[in-house]
């Protein structure tokens, strides 16, 4: 069965689609009321975010667009130190999309939401004409997280002198998995798409002095750390030998001229923590799901000088220093 324009008409077909596909997987007290808007409990400080997901291919080793749609939004909520509570999801389907494919995305989305501890409170479906290629789908999710009253501010401008930089796991897996699939290179690299709830919730509960936290998505580690350095007026020193990258991804990058520092991930975060808490933070992350390869990768030097001079510097294995600038271009492989 394929998606048709009638599935977006609001009539019988739409109801059937909602009943057969969405309601089957998204089953909770709030959503089941099927009201025009969801009414939920709250708290005095909220984190709110929204993100849209467009990826080709829709399904890839280690994940699919449904799983990504939860991870992206939940991880963004977590990074502000909040506890993710509710998400909404809007599906834009292209005419001709296989209903089985859709159902798999919906199932993944529901499963991932459960793992992340968030409730899907409301949703929407539209159908658009297919403009050529393989029919696909776009998912938008918005999310709300609760921030505790006594939480310390967390953000890219909050880095302090001597902070320790920790990365939650191997770099580049998602980007490499997607590119390999697109380019027909055979390997076992899987996307790291994952909700980071366990690690982050535990860091917050243990009152680790996290000064800044960011999920390392598009633009990669280099882009995130440059933003940290610029916002906090500090330098960040990284150590090449400490950067966790699997040998498979390392060689994949070697083949295509890519740099893991600029590759996108969907289940990794980097944080800047008070040096006295670094060891505990590392062990919390390592003992959580998806965090076994976490590593201390660098440190922060706060120096007072003109803003545009703050840099991220990588200490290379042979004793050199290389400035890690912002990413230029699209992070595409050089093929020639």
């Amino acid at each position: 069965m394929k998606v048709t324009m009638a599935h977006g008409s609001g009539g019988e077909s739409t109801s059937k689609l909602i009943k057969d596909v969405f309601a089957k997987y998204f089953n909770n007290e709030i959503l089941n009321k099927l009201e025009d808007s969801a009414v939920v409990g709250g708290c005095s400080r909220l984190a709110i975010t929204t993100d849209s997901f467009v990826v080709t291919p829709i399904e890839f080793p280690g994940g699919n667009i449904g799983r990504l749609a939860v991870c992206g939004t939940v991880n963004d909520l977590l990074m502000s130190g909040s506890k993710p509570m509710y998400i909404t999801c809007g599906f834009i389907l292209e005419e001709g999309l296989d209903l089985d494919v859709l159902e798999r995305q919906v199932a993944s989305l529901a499963e991932c939401a459960k793992e992340a501890g968030v409730t899907i409170v409301t949703g929407d479906t539209k159908v658009i004409e297919n403009k050529g290629a393989e029919p696909g789908l776009i998912i938008n999710t918005s999310g709300v997280g609760f921030i505790s009253e006594d939480a310390q501010p967390i953000g890219p401008s909050c880095l302090e002198d001597n902070d320790v930089i920790i990365l939650s796991g191997n770099l580049g897996d998602h980007h490499a998995a997607i590119l390999a699939k697109r380019m027909g290179i055979e390997n076992n690299i899987k996307s790291d798409a994952a909700p980071l709830s366990e690690a982050v919730n535990n860091l917050m509960e243990q009152k680790i002095r996290v000064h800044a936290m960011r999920d390392v998505t598009r633009g990669g580690l280099g882009t995130v750390l440059n933003e940290f350095a610029e916002s906090s007026l500090c330098d960040i020193e990284l150590y090449e030998e400490k950067l966790p990258v699997s040998s498979e991804v390392k060689d994949f990058c070697g083949l295509l001229g890519l740099d893991p520092i600029y590759m996108g991930n969907e289940g990794k975060f980097v944080l800047s923590v008070h040096p006295d808490d670094a060891e505990q933070a590392l062990s919390i992350i390592r003992s959580s799901k998806y965090g076994e390869n976490a590593a201390v990768i660098g440190d922060v030097k706060k120096i007072n000088r003109a803003t545009d001079m703050h840099k991220v510097v990588l200490n290379t294995a042979i004793g050199g220093k290389r400035v890690i600038g912002l990413m230029y271009g699209e992070g595409l492989p050089r093929i020639c």
Binding site: M183, D259, N315, A317, K321, V323, G329, L332, R334, C336
Partner: protein, 348 residues
């Protein structure tokens, strides 16, 4: 002196206080490896690394890109290219921009894909943008061999093929002074190390063939510093580079191609510095003759960069008008280009 290690080499290169040594690498992959390993930060100010004309995309003249665009606009023609070339501007636009306007341009990983595509689709002519040095030329020869085997008359090459020795002579004569060369590792894999040994004897300048790892490059630079003024030759990449190179690859190059003068971006025509299809194989040529015109964007100093007259950061546009996102010259477009590598790794 046995028993010293890479740390001591690093220390020695850091503290070097002798006469200034100017070392040129003539391979784009070396340029990228030098940046990735942060090698410039290790060297004393007295050791200068210069990126030479070894990135194929950077030395391609605008006429070649213009011709490729013209071909790609034809209804029955599809131009195939490596990734980096697609973003380099011709006289008025790049292949990527042309593609946006409907031109038939496709990026491929290997020239061998041309054979497959041409075979499957006899209604279109497939033209491969055949740029490169001695390393890539045998691959094009293999493509032609396959085309002949499969009786394909809808496969053509637009060639802009370069060879190393003449441009090295050109750089020595016209550039900003070079005391030692890091010889290109993979070009030497094909040509053999003897080519560079002979050049070192002829020019009285030391050459060292190097691999691509950071430590290998450090040792190479260390050797060249020690060899300054004395000439000489070393092969520090013996696992891949033999004295005579890959004879089978050299034979197949000779079967299809012959030496010719070639136009280099910003440097003009250099005698005997390129390869063209032999007369009997010209039917595979998509119109490569006389593509000498070179309309560099105004203010671009890529040419002076490529021969080591200036460093990328000495160009007034570097990092201001010209960044990887707003590249004017080819050296800022290619990920193996000198300007690109200086820019992204903060080299001074």
């Amino acid at each position: 002196m046995v028993g010293f290690n890479i740390k001591e080499i690093v220390e020695e290169l850091k503290n070097y206080d002798g006469e200034e040594v100017r070392i040129m690498e003539v391979c784009g992959t070396h340029t990228a490896a030098i940046s990735e390993n942060g090698i410039p930060s290790i060297l004393s100010d007295k050791i200068k690394l210069i990126s030479g004309p070894g990135c194929p995309v950077c030395v391609t003249v605008t006429a070649v890109i213009d011709k490729l665009i013209e071909l790609s606009m034809r209804r029955d023609t599809i131009v195939l290219t490596f990734g980096d070339l697609i973003r380099v501007k011709g006289t008025s636009k790049s292949l990527a921009e042309a593609k946006g306007e409907g031109a038939h341009v496709k990026m491929v990983y290997s020239p061998m894909e041309t054979v497959k595509l041409a075979k499957e689709d006899p209604d279109h002519t497939y033209v491969f943008a055949a740029i490169g040095f001695e390393t890539t030329t045998p691959v094009y020869a293999m493509v032609l061999e396959e085309a002949i085997k499969n009786n394909l008359d809808n496969l053509k090459l637009l060639t802009s093929l370069k060879t190393m020795p003449e441009v090295i002579r050109f750089v020595v004569k016209n550039g900003g002074g070079v005391d030692g060369f890091i010889a290109p590792g993979h070009v030497a894999t094909i040509t053999g190390s003897n080519v560079y040994k002979e050049l070192s004897e002829e020019l009285g300048i030391p050459f060292v063939v190097a691999g691509f790892e950071g430590a290998q490059l450090l040792l190479t630079i260390y050797s060249l510093v020690k060899m300054k003024g004395k000439g000489g030759f070393k092969n520090l990449y013996k696992s891949a580079v033999t004295e005579n190179g890959n004879t089978r690859a050299k034979e197949i190059i000779e079967k299809f191609f012959e030496p010719a003068d070639a136009a280099w971006r910003g440097m003009g025509k250099i005698k005997g510095s390129g390869l063209v299809l032999k007369e009997e194989y010209r039917k595979f040529d998509a119109g490569s003759a006389m593509l000498d015109e070179d309309n560099m964007p105004p203010g671009c100093r890529c040419a002076d960069v490529l021969v080591g007259k200036i460093k990328p950061c000495d160009c007034p546009m570097f990092g201001k008008k010209c960044t990887p996102d707003t590249a004017h010259g080819a050296c800022m477009v290619s990920t193996e280009g000198s300007c690109y590598n200086y820019f992204i790794s903060g080299r001074q």
